[in-house]
């Protein structure tokens, strides 16, 4: 979290839009969200890497098989 963080609050009742710094509670939520999705990016990348490695091994024994996946 840096000092430059800001959120845009859109009040649908009044139509007002306000840029402001996150509240403490919002800052905690932002940090939690970034941790959650950084983890997911990591898992996704690992899965893609494992899939690519498996396909490479299959390709050795069965040339052209990776075209099916």
């Amino acid at each position: 979290m840096t000092m430059q963080e800001q959120v845009l609050h859109v009040d649908c009742a009044s139509g007002e839009q306000t840029y402001r710094a996150p509240t403490d509670a919002e800052a905690e939520q932002i940090a939690a969200r970034r941790a959650q999705f950084a983890k997911l990016h990591g898992e996704r990348a690992s899965k893609a890497e494992a899939k690519a490695a498996l396909l490479a091994r299959l390709e050795t024994d069965y040339p052209g098989v990776s075209e099916l996946f």
């Binding site: 649908c12 009742a13 939520q29 932002i30 969200r33 959650q36 997911l40």
Partner: protein, 258 residues
């Protein structure tokens, strides 16, 4: 009032009628009711002037900048006038912004739809980021995220899953760290968002790419908040998963039906 005149069939006094300004003005006012859309400054003002609307009655609320119409269906409903879609609000990002928070979402519609076109400042290996949303802060979201990734002619399908988490996926965002002018676009539906009996869920579709040169990612999925959360959706936080929206990103919120 022996004759009528014009398309509205207004009653016209005969020359032999006794002059009666009150009756004449009342007749004109009654006729005008069907042709003039009154403006009210509040719900209370509307209710005072027309406490029992008839089928087809229209009015305009200046406090909401929104027209309404009473329809005598389903026991009588007041719906946004003119169409089944209504603009609620839109955030056009002008400076790097961590998240957009919609509050006081009107509960007068049947469904919500969110449109997003966005880039963020994340730096991920995949060049794109998840679009996320949250309508309560409890860790009660679970989702399946199905992604079709294509780089050149090779495509792969990846499924991601999480449950009991505090934020859910609702689309994709392109990373601005790349030098190409890519974008992520997403459409998110929240059916029956204002109900309080059933849990709320969303469905979405999203696409992000580097403007078609080599990398294209198409994503779709569903999210369901657990049954513990049946509260109506009155606030909505929309944010990239790991970065912040950059200038030019747009988040638009619409209401559908009534």
């Amino acid at each position: 009032m022996s004759t009528t005149y014009g398309k509205a069939s207004w009653p016209i006094p005969s020359l032999t009628d006794a002059p009666n300004a009150t009756t004449m003005v009342q007749a004109i006012a009654t006729q005008l009711d069907s042709f003039v859309i009154p403006k009210y400054a509040s719900s209370a003002a509307q209710a005072a002037a027309n406490p029992a609307p008839a089928d087809g009655d229209k009015w305009y609320r200046t406090d909401l900048s929104q027209g309404f119409q009473f329809r005598n269906v389903n026991g009588g409903v007041t719906v946004p006038d003119g169409d089944s879609w209504s603009y609620i609000n839109e955030a056009v990002i002008t400076t790097t912004t961590t998240q957009v928070i919609f509050t006081s979402i009107p509960q007068t519609f049947r469904h919500l739809r969110l449109y997003v076109a966005a880039k963020d400042n994340s730096v991920t290996a995949a060049n794109w980021d998840f679009l996320t949303c949250n309508w309560d802060v409890v860790s009660n979201y679970g989702y399946n995220f199905m992604e079709l990734s294509s780089v050149g002619a090779t495509g792969t399908v990846t499924v991601s899953y999480q449950n009991a988490v505090a934020n859910c996926i609702c689309g994709v965002v392109w990373g601005s760290h790349t030098t190409d002018p890519g974008v992520g676009v997403s459409t998110v539906d929240f059916p029956y968002y204002s109900g309080t009996t059933l849990a709320h869920g969303l469905t979405f579709q999203g696409m992000t790419s580097d403007t078609g040169s080599t990398q294209v990612y198409v994503a779709g999925g569903s999210v369901l908040s657990e049954a513990a959360s049946t509260a109506a959706i009155t606030t909505l936080t929309v944010a990239p998963g790991t970065g912040s929206f950059v200038a030019g990103s747009i988040v638009s919120l619409y209401g559908i039906g009534a």
